[in-house]
Amino acid sequence: MTGDPLVTRARRFGTVAIVLGVFTIVVFAIPNAGVVTTLSLESRLAGGAGSQIGSIDVPVLWSTLVLGLGALALGVALWMGRWRDHAIRAGGAAIGLFVIAFLLWAARGETLFVVDLARLSLRAAVPLTLGALAGVVSERAGVVNIAIEGQLLMGAFMAAVLASVTESPMMGTVAAILGGVAIAAMLGLLSVKFDTDQIVAGVVLIVFATGLTSFLASQWLTVSPDMNSPATFSAFAIPGLSSIPILGPILFDQSFLVYVTLAAVIILQYGVFNTRWGLRLRSVGEHPKAADTVGINVPRTRWLAVLLGGALAGMGGAFLSIDAASSFTEEMSGGKGFIALAAMLAGRYNPRGAFGAALVFGLSEASARALQGFDVGIPSTLLLATPYVVTILVVSGLIGRLRIPGASAQHYSTE
């Protein structure tokens, strides 16, 4: 008998945690005795009441030392054979401690606006989450959706135009949903009805959506700028909740699409695993013939899943053009569809996991911006590569085995 794969995995994570712990102590803690990082708990961004806690000074040496020892302890415990079944969580916690230590160290001698960092991370995670959820529902039904990037772009374009014409961001969102659904419908048509290779279809649709939106933008929107000055969403502070210290400005003083995203994560997590719809959806993705032989309509289930995915990604597009920005620009999705794909994989096809991964990716994006100007040792732009490196590690099985839905990318026809 060779080694138990669970033990091997736990040890691998243990090693990572120990390395991170030692690195934290040696690089972040020891050279920085007497240095202080100021953590500001105020929000410069949230419009609402905001909390007035002020800021606290954290000594870099002691704080990072504690965090480093924590990671070290997790690593040793993993090596000793604790938490074999929760190795991923323990390893994740060690990485989380390292990230916090890194931020404390990077901002040493300066002020770090942590609430705003969290807030920005969440906002950066919105289009990624919606795109990843689009991938989750579609892939759970056995249709690979590489075309998220195209759905985001189409959604962004439609939202900008319609929110300009109607002067209503809500109407813009509806249009974005239709735009995402339109690309999804083409994906469905090609993959469900005309049995084109799903990955090829997805790539072709990205090229198509990029070309079409760029053409229309340059040919039309540049001539009629009033068609590209949309009414945008602004933050809506939920009375009461938004005045909770720290959490309020992060979670409850956000714009409409952020709330929609959080709701979508919760509803889909529940729906996919605990409802009749979810069971059927997964059966179609795992073993379509089994589903067919008990009378489940496989093409219809797949169609609905793909279209729902399009609607979600379309909303993600709306966030780009009428929330995060206030107009459509060519290729404004800038690869976010691919990061969304990465978040879906890193989240192992689970809505909750995808959201978690999107948050991590959002944090790396927000940190890269927040740390500009600080002496970080490595250029903060390289932090932008985090999602991609993490994804490669995930699909390489270095962070546990990735289980793909059984009938992923397989066409199914009864006759």
Binding site: N274, T275, R276, L279, R282, A290, V294, G295, I296
Partner: protein, 539 residues
């Protein structure tokens, strides 16, 4: 319920799979459907289950014509099917699989897992098919997965149950359990259609048998009165003679020498353990056994596709583990893999290319890294002639040949080499009778030219016809080998897990003291006499 098929016809491009099939399944009977591989049994049942629509013909249930647009309609009409390849979602629990499509759910669509588990537990108790409802299907052994599949049909209140080759994946013991369950279902008033190409099983369980050949029903028989010869002839269209005419073997030096070999699967679990076996020049050693008892790993290990975990494996005195697959193939092992479509041939390449597939980059077919297509083509023309491959030409895509001719391409490639050892797994599966005879003849010729031959087959008749020595594989262990002749029933019992001592008495060998191979064929023939649970005639 009574089911009647009238004039069912189904055409596929170039083939008539079902040709005006008439069939009546009476209320409360087990109706056997017997036929060779490719006779059209599965197509017929897929039509009956609504997966295909018939081009012509009518289905009547209790005298009323019905029309199925999909399996949903067939289920509603009370038809259930246990598919040969289970229709189960591996990552779902038993209860989730059983209730899929007609789930227990609260208002709003939330699944009621408790109710589903209770219902499945009740159902399994009622039909005496014990099964835990909340176990993941992928964690169950095959026999229990099949049970889940049966429960799935019963949950949908099937009054007519179709079982498509249900015994193919079962050990004889599991098959007997299945037959018991089937009998109970019949006694409860259900009708069953039982599909198999094994005569023995039909005798054991069927009330009536219909025989399907080349898409047509060629006869209906009573299993109690019809003789094996009659049934077999109906099935294949001419008298079968699976006894191979072969001279006595004259074994020479040891070619393959296995000493206490363990083979592990991908997860590191030993699936084959303690194999000790020698194969000599000029003899055929055949390994019998129900599929899934480690044969695949065994064959792959011997031919260098799969590493051995422990033990020693020598080819002509050389340690095999030092050599790569390609060195073994070039250095004296011929390998006819068990699944020619997946392992043996590249369907979208030509016959000529497939004939050099395992020496594609060696002289003379490749020189200085470049393929010598003229030479490859000449080689193909020669092989097509020598091995009687029926094809328009060497450039024909292998995928468009019939199964028998495809197998001849594999045989031509593997036999044409200068082999010290020939390993053939399921050498005649899915092959027409004419090609079976031809391939068997070539195997014996190889032996007589001094090659050591190792056959692995789940077809007991093939094993008995070819073997000079026979061994049985069960649960990863090898029993034997024993010198032929060995009684067919005795092998059958060992395939089901009996030890040699249980079968042959304390000596653990058949016919202690009896010698000689002269009457091997005669004994094998006598062993065909139908004895419940033992004798077995397969097509």
């Amino acid at each position: 319920m009574q089911l009647e098929l009238q004039g069912i016809t189904k055409r596929f491009p170039g083939v008539i799979a079902n040709d005006h099939v008439d069939l009546v399944v009476r209320d409360g009977e087990i109706h056997g459907l017997l036929g060779e591989n490719g006779a059209g049994k599965s197509t017929l049942m897929n039509i009956l289950y609504g997966l295909y629509s018939a081009d012509e013909g009518t289905i009547l249930i209790d005298g009323e014509p019905v029309h199925f647009d999909g399996p949903g309609d067939a289920i509603d009409a009370g038809i259930g099917m246990v598919h040969q390849h289970f229709m189960l979602v591996p990552v779902f629990t038993v209860a989730e699989n059983v209730t899929l499509g007609t789930e227990f759910a609260h208002v709003g669509g939330r699944l009621d897992r408790q109710a589903a588990n209770d219902a499945v537990r009740d159902l399994s108790r009622k039909h005496n098919l014990p099964l835990e409802p909340d176990v993941l299907v992928e964690d169950l052994p095959v026999g229990l997965q099949q049970r889940a599949e049966i429960l799935k049909a019963l949950y949908r209140e099937a009054k007519l149950l179709i079982l498509d080759e249900p015994t193919a994946v079962l050990t004889p013991q599991e098959a007997d359990d299945l037959f018991e369950a089937m009998a109970k279902l019949r006694d409860d008033g259900r009708s069953l259609v039982f599909i198999s190409h094994k005569l023995r099983e039909h005798r054991a369980i069927a009330d009536r048998i219909s025989i399907l050949r080349r898409g047509k029903i060629v006869g209906t028989a009573d299993p109690r009165t019809a003789s094996d010869e009659e049934l077999a002839e109906l099935m294949v269209g001419r008298p079968v003679d699976l006894v191979v005419d072969k001279p006595q073997s004259s074994p020479g030096e040891v070619v393959l020498d296995l000493d206490d070999v363990d083979i592990a699967d991908e997860d590191g679990v030993d699936v084959v353990q303690g194999i000790t076996l020698q194969v000599r020049r000029g003899e055929i050693v055949a390994v019998a056994g129900v599929e899934g008892n480690g044969q695949t790993e065994f064959v792959n290990a011997v031919t260098g596709l799969h590493p051995i975990h422990d033990g020693r494996m020598l080819l002509l005195g050389d340690d095999l583990s030092d050599h790569s697959r390609v060195e073994l193939l070039r250095g004296g092992i011929g390998h006819v893999p068990q699944d020619r479509n997946n392992e043996g041939l590249v369907g979208r390449m030509s016959i000529a290319e497939n004939l050099v597939l395992d020496h594609w980059n060696s002289e003379p077919y490749a020189q200085r890294g470049l393929m010598q297509f003229r030479l490859i083509r000449e080689h193909a023309d020669h092989a097509i002639e020598a091995y009687d491959i029926r094809t328009p030409g060497a450039d024909t895509l292998v995928g468009s040949l019939s199964g028998g001719n495809q197998q001849k391409v594999v045989v031509a490639r593997e036999f044409d080499k200068d082999n010290a050892l020939l390993v053939a797994a399921q050498p005649t599966r899915g092959v027409d009778v004419g090609s079976i005879e031809y391939i068997h003849k070539r195997i014996v010729e190889e032996r007589d030219e001094g090659t050591a031959v190792l056959i692995v087959s789940s077809e007991l008749d093939e094993v008995l016809a070819l073997a000079d020595r026979v061994a049985v594989m069960f649960h990863g262990h090898l029993v034997g080998p024993f010198d032929m002749p060995v009684d067919k029933g005795d092998i059958g019992r060992m395939m089901a897990g009996a030890t040699p001592e249980e079968v042959f008495g304390p000596s653990g060998v058949p016919n202690p003291g009896a010698g000689g191979d002269q009457d091997a064929g005669e004994r094998a023939r006598r062993a065909d006499a139908p004895r419940r649970g033992d004798g077995e005639v397969e097509a």
